[in-house]
Every structure is written in structure tokens, then in C-alpha cells.
């Protein structure tokens, strides 16, 4: 059985890995550009399970367990140094209390911190403008490209074939079976087709077999500084009460990354410039952690949040086709979901259903029957 995976990002890599572990030997990955040219090479490398829907919480918790296993299995690196959501307004702490109860029900030990406790987690915060925080000690971050490359090299050694700089232009079907992918370098035949081509890539490719895929790539502009010795203790600090939920993280290499959800033209070119986002993004974070006003800003880049109407991924079979599957639309959380994405898609392809039942809520069918995922709180 030959399986064709379209998209060489974190999702495609983990799908290939999980299929290999279950005995599939003939796997071809088709990638339009180079390894992880999409979101997987443009994100900030953080993970958490403290979300606001049961779907996200259950799947992300399992995904983190898998990431932790992959430290020994694949030599991947990650560190659980926690997420710190800062409340500026006292009433936000009530929301945090509710969230913490919700998380604890699923076994995620988040807790609400007083101003003094916050200082232990991150020294130097401006206590005059902070009411408290929510802390998730199980969240963390990872060196992204190091992990991606390790996974890629492992897959290559295990016999997965990669076609880089090869774009899948359309899928070729006969009745309800996909026969081949017509690519920029010729036609590729297979028995099963899995599309994990990010947001726009997946939408455009599925449109060639008359499937409407509701995702839009929202433009994001993370900003990085020169490298510094460790300034940030937790993996991520998020300013909950400021619109666009500004956040800051420090990479393993020392660069400090600032980001904020600032509206831009959806699917703006990767080379388009928005120099004004720098000031808008760093200002609220520097209010919270004033020492950051002394850092040197090096560059910013562009990436996309592959956003679906309910901000949850779309997984599983694409009806009415018998041999077509999808994993895309992670709405800005696809890196951390990589391992669970691989597991669930392998379940669907080989067993016809996911081993974690709640994942059934995330198929494309939900938009047809109007059963979108509900969250208990929306951040930002």
C-alpha cells in the first residue's frame, strides 16, 4: 500500500512517522518548497494543554505526553518551563479561577498566582500594573528546527521518500477514489492520499476535487531580538487583558520573540512589510517587563495562523472520497499538536476511526451539520 502525504511540515512528518511505526513502508511526502517552509518553520516553538475546549485539552495533553516520549525515542528536545498569563484587571482573576477548575478536571495543574507569587515565576515584572496570573507548569517550549531536522533525518533513514520543490497542483479522481496527484514534476500515483498542506495550500488542493475547506491564513508578524542570556524564566508570558494578547518567549539560542495578533490583510505576501507592528507588539510587553526596553530588535518575519471558523483543526476522512484524508487548519497550534496529529490520522487511515473518541468532533462534517467546537473562554 502506497501512502502519499502532501505537505512537509510538522503534521506531514508525524503522520509519516506514525504510519511507519504501524508497519507502512511505502510512504511519499510531497513538499512544494523545502522542509517545513510553512508554519512549521515560522512559529515560536511553544506548547501547552491548558486550552478552553475539551477537544483541545484532551488532545493536547496526550500530544505533550507523546512529545515527552519522543525525547528518548527520537532524541527530540523540549523543556517544561510553564506558561504565565498575566491579568492586569482584578476581575480577570475570576476568569482564571474558572479556567483553573476546568483544567484541573482534566488533570492539568494550572493555578492562579498572587502578585508576589508571580514575581517568583518571573522576576522584574511591573507589579503596579498586574493583578495576578494563571500559571501552567506543564507547558513549555522547544528548539523547533533542531527537532524538525531530527525527525526528518529519522524518516529518511527509515525509507520515507521526500519530493521537495514539488507542488501538488491538483488531485485526480475517478468516482470516489483519488488516483493520483498531478504535481509540478509529474503525476504521482498512490492508494491513500493525506493532505497536510497548511491552510491555503490545503484549501486550494481540496478545491480541485470539489471540497470546500473553510480555512483562511491570518498574517502574523513575530519579532526577534539579538540573543541574550536567560531573561525569561517561563516559556511564555501572555498579556491577557490587552487586545491581541501580546506574548513573549525566549528561544534556546537566546533570542527574545515578541508577538501579538494584529489585524493585517489575510494571506498577505511573505515579503510584505508592516514595520509599524514592531512598536505595537513590544509596547505592552515592555510595560509588563520593563527590562526589555534595553534589548536590540533584530528582525521580524511573517507567518500565518491557518484559521478555521471555530479555531480548531480539521482532521480525518474527506467524504465522499474513500481514500482521502486531511489534517490542517490548526489555527496557530499545529506544532504542539504534531504527535497527536500523526497518531489520529494513522488511526483513521488504518482502523477507520480515531482511538481518542473526542477527535470525531473535529472532522470536516462538523461545518456541514453546524456542530462547531465550543470554548469556555476566548483569549485576546
Amino acid at each position: 500500500m502506497r501512502i502519499i502525504v502532501i505537505g512537509g511540515g510538522i503534521s506531514g512528518l508525524f503522520i509519516a512517522y506514525e504510519l511507519l511505526k504501524r508497519g507502512i513502508r511505502d510512504i511519499i511526502v510531497i513538499e512544494e518548497k523545502y522542509l517545513s517552509a510553512g508554519g512549521s518553520g515560522r512559529n515560536i516553538g511553544c506548547f501547552r494543554s491548558s486550552f478552553t475546549s475539551p477537544e483541545h485539552v484532551i488532545l493536547m495533553k496526550r500530544s505533550i505526553e507523546l512529545w515527552l516520549n519522543y525525547r528518548s525515542e527520537l532524541g527530540l528536545e523540549l523543556k517544561q518551563s510553564g506558561y504565565l498569563w498575566i491579568a492586569r484587571k482584578p476581575e480577570t482573576l475570576e476568569i482564571f479561577e474558572k479556567l483553573s477548575v476546568f483544567h484541573r478536571n482534566y488533570g492539568i495543574p494550572t493555578r492562579v498566582l498572587s502578585i508576589d507569587e508571580v514575581e517568583h515565576v518571573q522576576p522584574g515584572l511591573n507589579k503596579d500594573i498586574i493583578a495576578g496570573a494563571l500559571f501552567d507548569p506543564t507547558a513549555g517550549r522547544m528548539p523547533i528546527f533542531e527537532n524538525l531536522v531530527k525527525l526528518y533525518l529519522k524518516l529518511k533513514t527509515l525509507g520515507v521518500i521526500f519530493h521537495f520543490y514539488t507542488k501538488a497542483i491538483r488531485l485526480n479522481s475517478s468516482g470516489y477514489r483519488v488516483k493520483s496527484a498531478i504535481t509540478s514534476k509529474g503525476e504521482i500515483y498512490g492508494d491513500i492520499f493525506i493532505v497536510s498542506a497548511g491552510g491555503k495550500g490545503t484549501r486550494e488542493l481540496l478545491a480541485t476535487v470539489n471540497i470546500e475547506f473553510p480555512v483562511i491564513d491570518e498574517t502574523r508578524h513575530p519579532i526577534i531580538t539579538e540573543p541574550y542570556a536567560e531573561i525569561l524564566k517561563p516559556a511564555l508570558i501572555i498579556d491577557w487583558d490587552t487586545p491581541g494578547a501580546p506574548y513573549v518567549t525566549q528561544t534556546e539560542h537566546g533570542g527574545i520573540i515578541f508577538a501579538r495578533n494584529i489585524a493585517d490583510i489575510p494571506e498577505a505576501l511573505l515579503t510584505s512589510h508592516r514595520i509599524d507592528v514592531i512598536g505595537l507588539t513590544i509596547k505592552p510587553i515592555i510595560e509588563l517587563l520593563p527590562i526589555l526596553k534595553y534589548v536590540n530588535i533584530l528582525r521580524y518575519w511573517i507567518g500565518y495562523y491557518e484559521t478555521t471558523p471555530d479555531h480548531h483543526p480539521i482532521y480525518g476522512p474527506i467524504y465522499p472520497y474513500e481514500n482521502l484524508y486531511v489534517a490542517a487548519g490548526f489555527s496557530g497550534h499545529g506544532l504542539m499538536m504534531g504527535p497527536i496529529t500523526g497518531l489520529l490520522i494513522a488511526d483513521w487511515v488504518l482502523n477507520g476511526k480515531p482511538s481518542i473518541p473526542i477527535a470525531e468532533n473535529l472532522t470536516l462534517e462538523r461545518f456541514k451539520i453546524g456542530k462547531l467546537v465550543k470554548e469556555i473562554a476566548i483569549v485576546g
Binding site: Y34, T225, K293, N296, L298, R299
Partner: protein
């Protein structure tokens, strides 16, 4: 010490040596853009002005390609030279 081989630095901003590049290619990295991101060549304060062509030439030679084939995705990003955050804060209007 006399006679001891000194590391040959290719990317001064991020301390990447020629050995790092050779090792990466030997472990199976077969794309310059992946190599660049993996070793952070060109991601330092000079954004590759001093190292990029050097690294690309070495990579091209190691993989038997032409230099113009290997540099495809490299971009210099604003603000071009590092700027102190406090300078960029001036005049921010929400």
C-alpha cells in the same frame, strides 16, 4: 598552541564553523535553507551580510550544486540593522 587546528568560523554572529556545516551535510541535510535554519547561518545581527555567500559556496561545493541553485529563499528582514527596543517605542499610537 602551534600546529593545533583552529576552528574556521563561517558565521561570526552565531559561531558556526566550517566543521558544523560539513557535519550537517554528512548527517543528511540536503537543502541550504534547511541548513541555514538548523545552524542559524544568517540569522545574527548582520543578517548574513558577512557569512551568507561564504556558507552558500561551501554548501554548493559539498553537494555538487551551483551557488545560484542553493540560495533561493534568503531574505533580509526589517529593521535591517538591530535597533534598541526603546527607540522603536517612541511614537507608538494604538
Amino acid at each position: 598552541m602551534l600546529g593545533e587546528k583552529k576552528p574556521i568560523i563561517i558565521c561570526r554572529c552565531n559561531d558556526v564553523t566550517i566543521e558544523d556545516i560539513i557535519n550537517a551535510v554528512e548527517t543528511g541535510i540536503d537543502d541550504f535553507e534547511v541548513l541555514r535554519k538548523y545552524l542559524k547561518i544568517g540569522f545574527g545581527p548582520c543578517q548574513g551580510r558577512s557569512c551568507l555567500l561564504l556558507a552558500a559556496r561551501i554548501f554548493a561545493k559539498l553537494t555538487g550544486r551551483r551557488i545560484e541553485e542553493v540560495i533561493s529563499e534568503y531574505r533580509v528582514r526589517p529593521p535591517i540593522v538591530p535597533i534598541p527596543a526603546r527607540v522603536l517605542l517612541a511614537g507608538v499610537i494604538e
